[in-house]
Structure formats: structure tokens, C-alpha cells
Symmetry: C2
Subunit: 188 residues, 2 copies
DNA sequence: AAGTCTAGTAAACTATCGTTCACTTTGTCA
DNA sequence: TGACAAAGTGAACGATAGTTTACTAGACTT
């Protein structure tokens, strides 16, 4: 597969975590006039891959992102949605980076909600957890990841998402430290 | 929660997709000498949040990433791993951005491998799929997302990960278009 | 064959970049 | 209280940034 100029810039970005300057692109593309670069950049700007503010280059999210092809209905053909749809996972999954962190899950107590042993969960420190939320909690001083439930007396307790484990009622106290906002699993 | 200088820069980055220049930081931090900025940047470089190459600033992955706190074993306390561990989801999940794309899954045929209705899957166009891989395939011209199996005669067929669906043997042809590399699910 | 696009070269320009040096203010700790 | 370090000011520096204009060679029309 041959690399065009955009691929070269993406490679540069991946390695350096920044866009190359015009003079750097001169070398990368083996050109000898900055004007050639200027024109190429203009084209990318029109295509929405790059933008400029205050005369400085910056990538757009289209630059980073993967094509989002559409929905696959098991048993049905692909419904390819709008042609130009792109997605950056970090942006999609993490709404408030400031108050979020990642944990690896060990154990099978949440398999029924599709959280498996080894999965990563993104947790947001949060004030208010609702019944049904999957929460990082401390129940009687012991940390755990479970589903928050409130019974009809509004008393909170924790439930597993695996029928083989019973619900946990706090003896003394139940502290909610965060809400699971997303799960992520990598195969292999 | 009060914003320190680093937070301000992160906000700027999130919005502009680039780091602010020294003069821009002057305004952001309300300083009046570039030297003050210079010193702050030096500190961030020592902390590994920012780096410089060819006199140009660039963030490191530590800059973007969420703290990876460790493993939570259901029923056991948090095992907080090494203090400084960071993770960027895009980098973690997508190995080859060039040949990857995203699809939203509709249907329950893969629930047993933890892929639910509405989840996003990251698919890599790939030459070689192994038995057991979850693949995007075309079986007798119909697109689907299933588990690839090979029987003892090395004949390929597709299986669901839901016992209520039978395996699919191709009448004429079976084309593998990609392998599912990761799943991602957002709550709410 | 003439005319028009496209993609590149070459050179000059200003603004801003990140750096450096010398000095001043503020805070901390003995 | 005095000393020292940390944090900020202010000004000057050369290097590089992105932009602009003018020109050229090849490819595509018609």
C-alpha cells in the first residue's frame, strides 16, 4: 500500500504527537517550495482534515478518527449510514477526562451486563448515582464494582449481574466512589 | 474545583486540538513574561507531560490520558498498580488505524461473547482470520458479524455466540472482510 | 494548435516562535 | 530577622513560522 502525503503526515503525527511544520513537510514530501505545501494544506482544510486558528495548524477530529461505517444487523446487510461519519474513541467515551479514571475488572460478577473478566471500565467520580447504575463502591470498607439498587424504602444495596451471587446489603455504610460510564474490551 | 495552569492548557487542547504557544499561554495564565511560561513548560517536560522536538511543543500520551488505577477484583479491595500508569483509549484499542473502521452492532447474536445490541466494534481489515475470531463476513452474499469456526475437515462456517441461533454453513461462498479487534460500550 | 488547469519552483516578507539574560518580588524556613 | 529559593518581570535575540507574489512545465481540453 503506497503512502500518500496525508498518510505521511499521519505517521508523523502518531510519532511526534503534533503536526509537522511547512518546512518539515518539505522534507517529508521531498518538495522544494513551501508554496506547494501551502496548497496541499489548503486542500486538506477544505476537506475538513486540518484547520487553522491564529495561523497555526491543528488537526480536526476527522484527521484522527476511524470511519464509522454504520450499523450491522446480524442476519441483515450493512446499513451504511451517512458517508462522512467519523469517531474518536477517547472523545466518544470520555466526557469528563478530569474526573475519570480506568480500572481493569477481575471476576465474573458483572457478566450479565456484558462486563467480563479483564475488561477495562471507565469510571467517573460522581456525586449522584441512580438505581441501576454500575458503581465503584465501598461496602463496609470493602471495594467492589456492582450494580446499585434502591428498594422501595429507598435503602441502597448492591447487586451483582450474575445470578450466582446474592445481593449485598451494607451492614454499616455504603460509599459510592464513581459510576461506570463505559466498558472497553480488546480481543487477543 | 479550581483550574490550575495544566487544566487550562488541557482545556485549550481539547478545544483547539493543539497546544497553545507561549504568547497564548501568557494570556491564558494572565502572566506578563514569557520566561514564566518557559519555566512552567520546563517543569511539565520534567514531569513527562509535554515534550519538545525541534523546538516545538507536543503533548505526551501522559498529557491526554486517564490514570489507570489498577485492577478491581470483585469482592476484594483495589489493587492499585504502579503509581504512574496512563492509557489513551485510541492508542490502546486501535493498532492499525489505516485498515480499521467502526460498526455499530444490532442484534443479540453475540451476547455470549459480551457484544450487545448497540455496542461499537472496531474491525480491522485482515487477510487471515483464525477459528474462534469474531469476523465481519459475507455468507452467500449476506453480511453478518459472527464467530468463525473451522471443523475438522478445515471447512469454515459461522457460529453465533447465542445458543438460540444455529450455526451457518455457507451454501456457496464465505468471505471474511475483517476481524473484530475490540468492543466498546457506553452507558446511558 | 491554442488555451486553460494543475502542481510545482523560487524568493522575499512580516509576525511570531521559543530562548536567554539580568533583575525584582514573594514565600519559606531556620 | 535574614537568607535563600522559587516564581515573575521585562527586554532583546536569532530562527522559523506561515503567507504572498511571480513564474514555469506538464497534462487535459476542445
Amino acid at each position: 500500500m503506497k503512502l500518500d502525503h496525508l498518510d505521511t503526515v499521519k505517521r508523523f503525527y502518531k510519532f511526534h504527537k503534533r503536526l509537522p511544520s511547512y518546512s518539515e513537510m518539505l522534507k517529508l514530501f521531498d518538495f522544494s517550495s513551501k508554496n506547494a505545501i501551502y496548497r496541499i494544506i489548503q486542500k486538506w482544510i477544505e476537506e475538513g482534515l486540518i484547520k487553522k486558528d491564529a495561523r497555526k495548524l491543528a488537526p480536526t477530529s476527522k484527521f484522527f478518527s476511524l470511519p464509522f461505517l454504520g450499523i450491522i444487523k446480524a442476519g441483515f446487510p450493512i446499513l451504511a449510514e451517512e458517508d462522512k461519519n467519523y469517531l474518536t474513541l477517547d472523545e466518544y467515551l470520555i466526557e469528563d477526562p478530569h474526573s475519570s479514571f480506568i480500572l481493569r475488572v477481575s471476576g465474573d460478577s458483572l457478566i450479565n451486563v456484558g462486563i467480563f473478566d479483564g475488561d477495562l471500565v471507565i469510571i467517573e467520580r460522581s456525586q449522584q448515582a441512580l438505581s441501576g447504575d454500575i458503581v465503584l463502591a465501598q461496602i463496609d470498607r470493602e471495594w467492589t464494582l456492582k450494580i446499585l439498587r434502591k428498594d422501595n424504602q429507598k435503602k441502597s444495596y448492591l447487586a451483582s449481574a450474575n445470578p450466582k451471587y446474592p445481593p449485598f446489603f451494607p451492614r454499616q455504610e455504603l460509599q459510592i466512589h464513581g459510576i461506570v460510564k463505559a466498558v472497553v474490551r480488546k480481543f487477543n
